[in-house]
């Protein structure tokens, strides 16, 4: 079955996620869908699988136009998907999970024998020797991943979309998965592979589509025509519109605001060295899953630091809670998941900004409304957050303004070390530029900023130095020349550089 998606356009409030993207996949091939974070890959996958409806464009299956109202309709049309996040019910058995969307019934009850046989059939397709009666919660991550593929194949699936299928797999498990992919294509299935891991892509894919800023910049080209560097160039784009923010002067002689020496964590980071000076932005780049957020959490006392030393303004610090990081060391953390962790969506904006300063403002345990109102007004003005009223709920703001509120609370608390995690994910280009100027301004005022980002242009625009993390190690730290092409090449090489041999 040939899948052709043409001119797909999809906008979300404030963001145009896709504008005229095209994807064409032939049976019997592995098609790589590549692009940087935020290029529109996930949106495209979600449109193809009926999660979103496109604003414009059409989807053709073997030349017949399709309209998917729900994921089930897409599945019935023959498009199966394995999403990045797990979608199995842990308490159900393998067979129940595989057959979940079309349970065989007899007299209104589930026909367990047929369900098991059906599951067996799907597992056999993958050569998987799993007991269909095993509880999914008891499986390993890799096994669960393969069960998801079996589930996607349980309907007569002809096109299989795999979104970062190896993100949580070991090398051997990934090899096994790709052997299965090869068998599927040999039997005429089409596979669309979304992956950040270029080695894997070059090993298994035949053709490639590259998305950048919602456009397809390479459409169904044979992958063999490209070198790896050319693909990277396509992904990041030469005509990169960088905001010129001007270099800051960083006093490197002074005691660094934040210094990590030989830090290891309970999360598997080993021997990290990293410093952030006053007035400096250090970009921490890495792929999803490299362990950057986990490092931030360890610095805030939410994970344990097992070895090494963290020094704040030259003084060794043992931080055990966010309250202590804030109160004693004035470290603020703007989390990546602003809706889930950064904001109180159902609370007024004033409370969202004020939450970190109540401890300072309270007199005899009580909070004078006025002091809070003044403070909130000062920081919403400073960050250019447009509000109808401070009583407006945070959930009613646009993504960019929400992120500003998430940042404002740390500024209100007078933090001079800020850890900012993926600050502009899902934020439109213009707001993004404004946010970059804001961060640069904060650094210019003498704050130390550790910028965690998977958005390379963002890091090159903002950072004074770029630390590259992969597999919970810092692979190197580069001074940023702000020459985008050069920096992109060097950073990507560091990410993919083989891990130096170590004594185990």
């Amino acid at each position: 079955m040939t899948l052709l998606a043409e001119g797909l356009t999809k906008s979300f409030p404030g963001v145009r996620a896709l504008s005229g993207a095209t994807l064409s996949v032939r049976p019997g091939s592995v098609h790589a869908l590549l692009g940087e974070n935020g290029a529109g890959k996930s949106t495209l996958v979600k449109i193809l699988t009926g999660v979103y409806r496109p604003d414009a464009g059409r989807i053709l299956l073997d030349g017949a136009p399709m309209r998917f109202g729900s994921p089930l309709e897409a599945l019935r049309a023959g498009i199966g998907v394995v999403h990045q996040e797990r979608n199995l019910v842990p308490e159900f058995t393998v067979a129940e999970n595989i057959a979940l969307q079309h349970l065989p019934r007899r007299f209104g009850l589930v026909d367990r024998a047929r369900m098991r046989a059906e599951a067996r059939r799907c597992l056999d397709l993958l050569d998987l020797d799993l007991d269909p009666d095993t509880r999914v919660g008891d499986l390993s991550v890799a096994q669960a991943q393969l069960v998801e593929i079996a589930k996607a194949l349980s309907v007569d699936t002809r096109v299989l979309l795999l979104d970062e299928p190896t993100a949580s797999l070991t090398g051997d498990e990934a090899d096994r998965l790709y052997r299965i992919v090869a068998r599927l294509t040999a039997t005429g299935h089409a596979v669309v592979l979304v992956s950040h891991k270029l080695e894997e892509v070059f090993a298994v894919a035949d053709t490639v589509t590259v998305l950048r800023d919602g456009h397809s910049v390479a459409e169904a080209q044979p992958l063999a025509d490209y070198t790896r560097d050319q693909i990277v160039d396509l992904m990041v784009g030469r005509a990169h519109a960088a905001v010129e923010l001007g270099a800051r002067t960083v006093d490197r002689g002074a005691v660094p605001a934040l210094a990590l020496t030989g830090v290891s964590t309970g999360h598997g980071h080993r021997d990290l060295d990293l410093t952030v000076a006053k007035g400096e932005i250090v970009g921490l780049y890495g792929l999803v899953g490299a362990g950057r957020t986990e490092l931030a959490r360890a610095l805030l006392g939410l994970d344990t630091i097992t070895a090494g030393e963290v020094a704040v303004h030259g003084t060794p610090a043992r931080i055990t809670s966010v309250g202590q990081a804030l109160g004693e060391h004035r470290i603020g953390y703007v989390p990546e998941d602003r809706k889930g962790e950064g904001l109180f969506l159902e609370q007024p904006i004033a409370r969202n900004v004020g939450v970190t300063v109540w401890r300072r403002l309270s007199r005899a345990g009580l909070l004078p409304d006025r002091a809070e109102r003044d403070l909130v007004a000062r920081y919403t003005d400073l960050l250019g957050i447009r509000l109808a009223s401070p009583r407006q709920l945070a959930g009613q703001l646009s993504g960019g303004n929400q992120q500003k509120v998430s940042l404002a609370k740390w500024l209100a608390a007078d933090c001079d070390i800020l850890i900012v995690d993926e600050p502009t994910v899902g934020i439109d280009v213009r707001t993004k530029a404004a946010f970059h100027e804001l961060l640069a301004g904060l650094a210019a005022q003498g704050r130390a900023i550790l910028l965690i980002s998977s958005d390379l242009p963002e890091i090159v625009t903002l950072a004074d130095r770029i630390a590259v993390m992969a597999d919970r190690r810092i692979r190197g730290t580069l001074p940023n020349t702000r020459a985008y092409d050069e920096m992109a090449q060097r950073v990507i090489r560091l990410v993919h550089a083989p891990l130096p041999q170590e004594v185990r």
Binding site: L300, L302, S321, V322, G323, A325, L326, G327, Y333, P335, G340, E341, G342, L343, F344, L345, E346, Q347, P348, R351, V355, T356, W358, R359, L361, S362, G365, L366, L367, D369, A388, S389, R391, Q392, L393, G395, Q396, K409, A413
Partner: protein, 347 residues
Amino acid sequence: MTDAAPPATSAPPRSLPLWANPRIGLVVLLTALVALFATLRPGFLNTYLTLVPLQADISVYVVVGLAQLAVLSLGHMNMAVGRMAAFSAFAAGLVHDRFDVSLPVALLAGMAAAGLLGALAGLIITATGVNSFVVTLALDFALIGLVSLLYAEFTPGVAFAGQPDGMAQMRADTFADYCVGDVCGPPIPLQVPFALVAVLLVGLVFRWSRVGREVLMVGANEKAAKLSGIPVRARIIQAHALSGVLAGLAGFLLAASNGAFSASIGDGFLLPSFLAPVLGGTLLVGGAVSVLGTVLGTAIVQVIYKGLNLLQFQVDELKLYIGLILLLALSLDRVRHVVAEKRGVPA
């Protein structure tokens, strides 16, 4: 003013419209109910037969509702409100019985005992991560046994024989019985000021105190609260302790109404404790409480009780109607939310 929920009538663009403010609906409903019962039974407005006992009941159950509200703020539940009240009444009775302390001291001892129980519940919840419903339900079960055993051990039967000076007056008197010269007080029972102080203090805590606001933030989004530097565990324990203290006060007020510290105090607290706050617009998911709404909710429930009672409904019928009214009110509340959301207020 004691309303700690985000005011629903602010921010002209994209905010809840006035009609969606649940408190206004409650005032209308309360007025209508009073008018209805007064029409059907003019005796409903009789001061000493109806209005004075009604005020005493409202006082007790407002405090019961506040005890539940204190943990609803977190999105938690306290299934042991009744037994915490019973334990408080026991503690108050015991210190009076053994040490012959005065009424205020007995009251404080009772509230402190129940507060410690609440703190214990909060401690178990934070230490184990077990759902508050389960923890307080288990605690309730344990306390049923403990309170009976304690009464059996320390009293001749199921109640303390004596009571501190002033208890009898709290039961029988109103301010109308206290005169300065020719000027007497209004016909308001002596329980009312206790409840009033509780209402004002709880309102103050959730509206203007750091601790109360941080409790609400924990209820709104525990992860974000933790990442904003709020000591989440301490706030959970404090909210449960407050719930215990208020349950203790309610137990004492009911003991004063009944005229004895007895084992049966608090038996009927659980349902009303949810009824009043939920009717008043407090969310079960946490993050927003309405103290004023709780007062109105309690008043409505007690007016219905008294009214149906006067119309000579049986106890079982009373319960049936109260249940139906609650279902109706909650459904209307949900409809109101859905409509408000469709008008452009995001969920």
